[in-house]
Amino acid sequence: MGKNKLAIFGLSVLVFFTALAIFAPVIAPYDPTEIVAEDTMGPSTQHWFGTDDYGRDIFSRAVYGARISLTVGLVAVSISISIGVLLGALAGYFGGWTDSLIMRFVDVMLSFPSIFLILTIQAMLTPNIYNVMVVIGITSWMGVARLVRGEYLKIRELSYVEAARAIGCSNKRIIFRHILPNAQAPIIVAATLGMAGAILTESALSFLGMGVQPPMPSWGNMLMDAQAYMRDAPWMAVIPGLLILITVLSLYFIGEGLREKSDVRS
């Protein structure tokens, strides 16, 4: 009940932010990289969220930042879901040495604290938005792989999988057409929660200067810019901080709502 309402709230927020991101050029009153004021200024009717240390409009930067943050989250989670589903499905469906090999690889990947793994890989690459998405994607699929493996282990024993084999379906067809749709509920939940994680990681990376590079705005690097002005211009930190918080919470609410719904059904 309560979770359901939160999930709907989360979904509305996300739809709203997505609309902001898509229509950013129409919505943002200023160019996000253009200097439009003399100095840092607090919120006013002209600059709703104030201006930053360079005199750029924070509202416009936040709107364009939504574009970057949501895109990074979406692409990164697509990468991690693709890898996780593929490896988890192979491990769970075939079992035996395929399973052992893949699951040992998962264990190895999990044995590195992920932020170090990400920072190490990221340090070797030029920090730009594309690398951020790929690096987050390839370091966050392990949970999905474990989850999907479990689903496949369970489903491959069911009668309809046997029936599919008896009508001449190939393994590939069974894996993708017969089992995958039956495992989709937990995968969607994992994707929602994973997107929240990816957005946080992007912010952390950008905050450390290893993510999205200025002057391109992301919520994470807006926070980084704000560090030096916490006392004089707190709005510089509050705005992107709140946006990250609200987005991540919304995704969690959606994920939890979906999880509850699929638990009730099964």
Binding site: L158, S159, Y160, A163, R165, I167, C169, H178, N182
Partner: protein, 281 residues
């Protein structure tokens, strides 16, 4: 048309091996229904799975399964895929769990037509509707869009039969297809199977532990116990004169199940069994 020769299927379980099927031989002719009978765990399903090589790779399968002059046990997977569901089909005990819950009835019938007969989406759909009519599902044009849970158990088994017969196979394996159904529905499904056998001149291997069904539809019976054939012959002969105590016991079970002993029926006689037979068909 299908000949099983010295089939043995062993499963490894830890250090021991389970001889699920042990040197079994029999054959099924065109237009014939062969009953495969035995208690639970006697290896009936394992024989069915061995015929289509739906056995885990860790198990050892030896012997020969001759179908259209080829030994199925020696075929590679790509060849087997062409035979499964097209020349040899199978129906299962529980139709509800044998249908994929997320695909529509139409999609599931169409699937087998599309990859065995290369039909396009539209052709396969039209044929699926025809097939639903063949297995007597009313409003088939609308019902192709339904999901399995919208069908009753009997209708689900009809759908399974439609899928099995979609590519006009020559051989059908039925693994206790009526066990999960109500008695009245059982009779309908049995009638349908017999009717379709006549229509398509199918050879059928019918697995059951119910001698009543055997008596009704099978021309010949193979009785299995612990993976071995203990008795084989014409249905009438086995019934009137079972050679093995095990077979007698299975027949006795049926008598007790369908007619619990009452003082007036305490004597064993053919009348009890034929009364049961009369009810079904």
């Amino acid at each position: 048309m299908l000949e099983v020769k010295n089939l043995s299927t062993y499963f490894k379980q830890g250090d021991s091996t389970v001889k699920a099927v042990d040197n079994v031989s029999f054959s099924v002719a065109k237009g014939e229904i062969l009953g495969l009978v035995g208690e639970s765990g006697s290896g009936k399903s394992t024989i069915a799975h061995s015929i289509l090589k739906l056995i885990p790779a860790s198990a050892s399968v030896s012997g020969e399964i001759i179908f259209e002059n080829r030994n199925l046990l020696q075929l590679a997977e790509p060849e087997l895929i062409k035979i499964r569901g097209s020349k040899i089909s199978m129906i299962f005990q529980d139709p509800f769990t044998s249908l994929n819950p997320v695909l529509t009835i139409g999609e599931q019938i169409a699937e087998v037509l599309r990859f065995h007969q290369g039909m396009n989406r539209q052709q396969a759909r039209d044929r699926a509707i025809e097939l639903l009519e063949t297995v007597r599902i009313r409003n088939s044009g609308l019902r192709v869009r339904d999901y399995p849970h919208q069908f009753s158990g009997g209708m689900q088994q009809r759908v399974m039969i439609a899928i099995a017969l979609a590519c006009e196979p020559e051989f059908l394996i039925a693994d206790e297809p009526t066990t999960a159904l109500d008695v009245t529905i059982q009779a309908e499904i049995l009638r349908l199977i017999v009717e379709l056998k006549e229509k398509f001149n199918l050879g059928i291997m019918y697995i059951t532990h119910n001698f009543g069904i055997v008596k009704n539809i099978c021309q010949r019976v193979v009785v299995l116990n612990k993976g071995r054939v203990v008795e084989e012959g014409e249905t009438g002969q086995i019934f009137s004169n079972p050679q093995q105590a095990y077979t007698q016991r299975l027949i006795e079970c049926l008598r007790v199940l369908t007619h619990p002993p009452t003082p007036s029926l305490s004597k064993r006689g053919g009348g009890v069994l034929s009364a049961d037979g009369g009810e079904l068909l």
